[in-house]
Symmetry: C2
Subunit: 324 residues, 2 copies
């Protein structure tokens, strides 16, 4: 849970006065998200999200993120749209932090994932990938293949405290990933963090994607691999191939996968599991045990990584490559 | 910051369907308040607060609290009003906890208290006291005079860890309070926790009082004493008599204080400071040091207590008793 920047009413009212959205009627800190301070802002005109970008977001990346959301919204995608102030600017400063007012997206994120969520998720992700193709911005994936080894070196000496043998497992897996990582798959803008709390639904339909602050340029199919990890395992650790099939089928209704992308799914899934395993491990060993922040279990991703490492081919993800 | 009950979308939608407020459009956990889980719920009809009552609220007290809010709202007071479902009930269950949907109050609570806030605060508090006179419910103040000694006994052995000499100071002060506490002041429903984050303003006017979950039956002037502590000290510890005068003047525009109430202000203020000193001390010694919850400094109230203990009379609170 985020530690919030405290915004005074005077500062808030002066900030909102720079926009054409009427007077402030209410503003409440939202207890979701860990990267930024988010407030649900209500004015005479409606509801908005006020975001203050905290230190985990590099201010130099903000024009890329803000521009991307504007671009995707213009392409008709349901995603939060930064509001321009009267001066036309979408990004300004509040309490010494970069800040923006973003449109409010209706919907709820699914706490309990059903197979019925996965096809709409796949379609929405593919639509975002297609719409992103015309976005001129680029941003390297700092948490992609090249970022994993430095992260591993940083925390390898503490890995075995979390689970005996974890350091050796990560070292071996990293070598495999570096040797087998694909080189020439279709790439473009990916969301890179499309977990259930970033996908809003109204009933069975996706009403919007949020939180583009990990978005970057990488293989499009890597985004699918992140979702296969985040959406298709059951709480008991079992991989649900029905959900995976629905996700891939939905995706391909909008953007069919090439044979190379399809063949690469197992290694991409291993890489995606490695990425979240490493960042969770980092947070785990760097968060005090008594802290009220809910630490996410790194070993959840160690188990997912083992699953992907043992599959015999992309058919494990529920779709027969020939049939797809 | 609250640890929230996680409400699934299915549970939420089934819960909201019991009310006549349209379909859910959004629901976000609010990062304010520590006692309960609060969500800003948006439906086709508007904005509401969904509250799940967590363990610090005694379920047996809920009919008193809910009934009080309904009563005050009927008397024309701006306060959150519990919504009845289609079955007429305002209190039901969600995720195994008592839960209610409450009307949404516009306004912001003042992060930086100005003297201009204090007269409207005084008037709003007096209006609540007057409106509460016709409420038939009664609830003993478990954190009033009779509750302080048990709380002190519970933590006295750790008080000197917070500040050397604190245990002796508290013991002596408690004896004074027990000896000098008034016996026959006008009593009725008090809010008992009217801190700035429970008072919403729109511009210079109070738009509503919230969070009645400490409300109880006690001396009305004790509520004023709580506010003199919570609103009239500057961050550097100085007592701001201008704010106190504004508060008392505003209050008396609605409900004049008797000579006995006025004379009792110093001892009531000492008692109010003791109450928050003791509960903060309890939270301080029972919250792990690394926890992300912001512990409130008990010594802030030790300093306030010392201030009230040394005043020579109620004139210290900015109003000449003769002139009042």
């Amino acid at each position: 849970m985020a530690v919030y920047t405290e915004v005074s009413d005077e500062e808030l009212e002066a900030f909102v006065a720079q926009y054409d959205i009427g007077a402030v009627e209410g503003c409440k800190g939202i207890a979701e998200g860990v990267e930024n301070s988010n407030f649900l802002l209500q004015t005479e005109r409606g509801s908005y999200i006020l975001t203050l970008y905290e230190k985990r977001v590099n201010p130099d990346d903000l024009p890329f993120f803000i521009g991307l959301m504007e671009h995707l919204a213009r392409q008709g995608l349901a995603c939060p749209t930064p509001l321009p102030g009267r001066d036309g600017r979408t990004l300004r400063e509040l309490c010494g932090r970069p800040a923006a007012i973003i449109s409010f997206l209706q919907g709820l994120w699914p706490r309990k994932i059903q197979a019925a969520h996965c096809a709409p998720l796949g379609r929405a992700m593919a639509e975002m990938h297609v719409a992103g193709q015309s976005y001129p911005g680029r941003r390297a994936n700092s948490l992609g293949l090249a970022g994993w080894r430095p992260l591993f070196e940083l925390e390898r000496h503490r890995a075995d405290q979390v689970k005996p043998g974890l350091e050796a497992m990560l070292a071996a897996e990293l070598e495999t990933l570096e040797a087998q990582w694909p080189r020439d798959l279709p790439s473009g803008i990916i969301h890179a963090d499309l977990f259930p709390d970033n996908v809003f639904f109204k009933g069975a339909a996706v009403s919007g994607l949020i939180d583009f602050y990990f978005a970057c340029t990488d293989f499009l199919a890597y985004d699918i691999a992140i979702c296969l990890n985040a959406w298709c395992f059951e709480p008991d650790g079992a991989f649900n191939a029905t959900k995976a099939r629905a996700l891939l089928t939905g995706y391909q209704q909008v953007r069919p996968l090439s044979a190379a992308e399809f063949a690469a799914l197992p290694i991409l899934c291993r890489g995606a599991a490695m990425r979240f395993l490493l960042t969770r491990l980092y947070d785990w060993v760097n968060t005090p045990a008594g802290a009220f922040v809910k630490r996410k279990d790194p070993l959840e991703y160690e188990r997912k990584l083992r699953f992907h490492a043992q599959v015999t081919g992309p058919g494990a993800y529920g779709l027969d490559p020939v049939a797809s």
